[in-house]
């Protein structure tokens, strides 16, 4: 073990400039990769648990809401609610209907606004209950929207996809751009690692020759090289994690969250997931080229 550590430090010093190049490439590429993972999670958060299952939200009246089909000062009555449900169930364009009561809506609301002062002034009765609808053919939403919005007790009908899809398109572009660029950079980093190790093995070929001759195991011979790549990659990963944390703190927690309340933003737990992915990629990307580079030299 002491041998491995001594060799490790002399290796890190000997290939300082190459290792620095790998470190920086790793840093930038893993940061982009982490951002890609965060954007993916952001998209999932906005979609919530309803987006992939429903197309249309039908909001009902409360005493406080205003709308053509609402009676002022009075919410949707049970009779109206039953009529709306029957009409939706009877509509051949409607595949599924989910009803969310005020309590259920309030529960979701509390999650979204968990750290907002708005929460304190709200109660379940302030929430609008709603029907969430899945269509047999999502393209045919207009007819259902038109029919449903005429019914008494319906405050508003919202076509979810029309509202969210342009946003998702942008987010998707951003995600693929980040992941694509990070993919290219990670490829470059992997090749750099392979080259660095190949050079390191070459400069130490005498020692390695003797080690093989006297019967040192392959693990013993390769360990310093594996550790060298691993440490450089983990260094890059650590810098990338720090960068992601800085982005989360300064861009999202301090800027975006106060500016756009009511929008669910990625939190520290999501950053944690991105960090796990990023470290896993860093380890794989340092080990695989090192094993490939040393294998050829160690073949008996």
């Amino acid at each position: 073990m002491r041998h491995a550590l001594t060799e490790l430090f002399s290796g890190l010093r000997r290939n300082a400039s190459m290792n620095l190049a790998v470190l920086v490439t790793m840093w930038v590429s893993l940061t982009l990769f982490g951002l890609g993972v965060l954007v993916t999670q952001q998209v999932d958060l906005i979609k919530g648990r309803w987006y992939d299952r429903i197309e249309i939200n039908v909001f009902l009246c409360t005493p406080a809401t205003q709308g053509e089909n609402c009676t002022p000062g009075q919410g949707t009555t049970d009779a109206e609610r039953t009529a709306i449900r029957a009409a939706l169930n009877g509509n051949p364009e409607v595949a599924d209907v989910y009803y969310q009561s005020q309590e259920e809506v309030f529960a979701e609301f509390k999650q979204t606004y968990a750290d907002s002062p708005v929460l304190a002034s709200m109660k379940a009765e302030d929430m609008q209950d709603l029907f969430r609808i899945k269509l047999t053919n999502p393209e045919e939403y207009q007819k259902v929207v038109a029919e449903t919005s005429m019914m008494p007790g319906v405050q508003n009908v919202q076509d979810l996809r029309q509202f969210l899809d342009p946003l998702f398109e942008w987010l998707n572009w951003g995600r693929w751009l980040a992941i694509g660029a990070s993919g290219l950079l990670l490829l470059a980093a992997a090749l750099q690692i392979g080259n660095t190790i190949r050079m390191a093995v070459f400069t130490r070929r005498r020692e390695i020759g003797i080690m093989r001759l006297v019967g040192a195991s392959n693990t013993y011979i390769m360990l310093p090289f594996l550790l060298e790549s691993l440490i450089v990659a983990l260094g890059g990963a650590a810098l990338a994690c720090a960068t992601l944390a800085a982005i989360q703190q300064f861009a999202i927690v301090e800027k975006a969250k106060p500016a756009l309340q009511g929008f669910t933003w990625v939190g520290w737990d999501h950053v944690g997931i991105a960090v796990v992915w990023l470290v896993a990629v860093a380890i794989a990307l340092s080990m695989i080229p090192t094993l490939v580079a040393t294998r050829r030299f160690l073949k008996v």
């Binding site: 041998h3 003797i210 001759l213 006297v214 040192a216 013993y220 008996v300």
Partner: protein, 228 residues
């Protein structure tokens, strides 16, 4: 200790085999010269014993182990039982004599306590006790080969392979190295030495295996370099 049975080795991309149908048995404790001109197959013979390469056909058995069927991860263990010296010494230039010899034990994971005990004794045996702290470049050719021999035997191998160990040395220095090899052999190590130094072979009068164009053409107890 070493048994070759009808061993043929053809390197990839070459038509003529480097070794062709060689059979020979070297017993435990023997001292054997492997002679023949350059390209006769001496080095291939040694490489096969070290399992640096595998026989194309035939069987190589070393210390009871069939090398053709040996798995890659077992090779280090095989080599721990074989010491090797070369014409060009192959000492590490940045390390002292002591460090060079100790290196062979360190890299197979021997504890420092063992190393501190074994290395000085081995240097004493090869006559380099007073030069333990010198760098290889500060030594004469004969001293460098002694250091290389110390490294080869420090782990008490059962077999010592020597590939032209006197090839770079003048005759009087060679005598010293041969005395050392003889001593190592008398202490129980099987010695297999490839050489085309006829003086050495003729003086020692040990078993001679002669190769020519990859074929074994002579296997003679107490032989000399050429035919008499």
């Amino acid at each position: 200790m070493i048994t070759f049975t009808d061993v043929t080795k053809t390197y990839p991309g070459q038509k003529r085999p480097a070794l062709s149908g060689v059979s020979a048995t070297i017993e435990d404790g023997e001292f054997v010269f492997l002679v023949g001109p350059s390209g006769s197959g001496k080095s291939t013979f040694l490489r096969l014993v070290l399992r640096e390469t595998r026989a194309t056909s035939g069987q190589v058995v070393v210390d009871g182990r069939d090398l053709g069927r040996m798995r890659g991860w077992r090779i280090p263990k095989l080599r721990r039982g074989i010491g090797t010296v070369f014409q060009d010494f192959r000492l590490l230039p940045g390390k002292t004599v002591h460090e060079n010899v100790a290196f062979a034990l360190q890299v197979i994971g021997r504890p420092g306590r063992d190393i501190r005990r074994t290395v000085p004794a081995t240097l004493e045996m090869v006559g380099l006790a007073d030069k333990a702290d010198r760098l290889p470049e500060e030594l004469s050719g004969g001293e460098q080969q002694r250091a290389a021999l110390a490294r080869a035997v420090v782990n008490a191998p059962r077999i010592l392979l020597a590939d032209e160990p006197t090839g770079n040395l003048d005759p009087s220095t060679s005598v010293g190295i041969m005395k050392l090899l003889d001593q190592i052999n008398k202490d129980g190590t099987t010695v297999l030495m490839a050489t085309h130094d006829s003086t050495v072979v003729d003086q020692m009068r040990r078993r001679v295996i002669e190769l020519s164009n990859g074929e074994l053409i002579r296997d003679q107890a107490q032989g000399v370099y050429g035919y008499q």
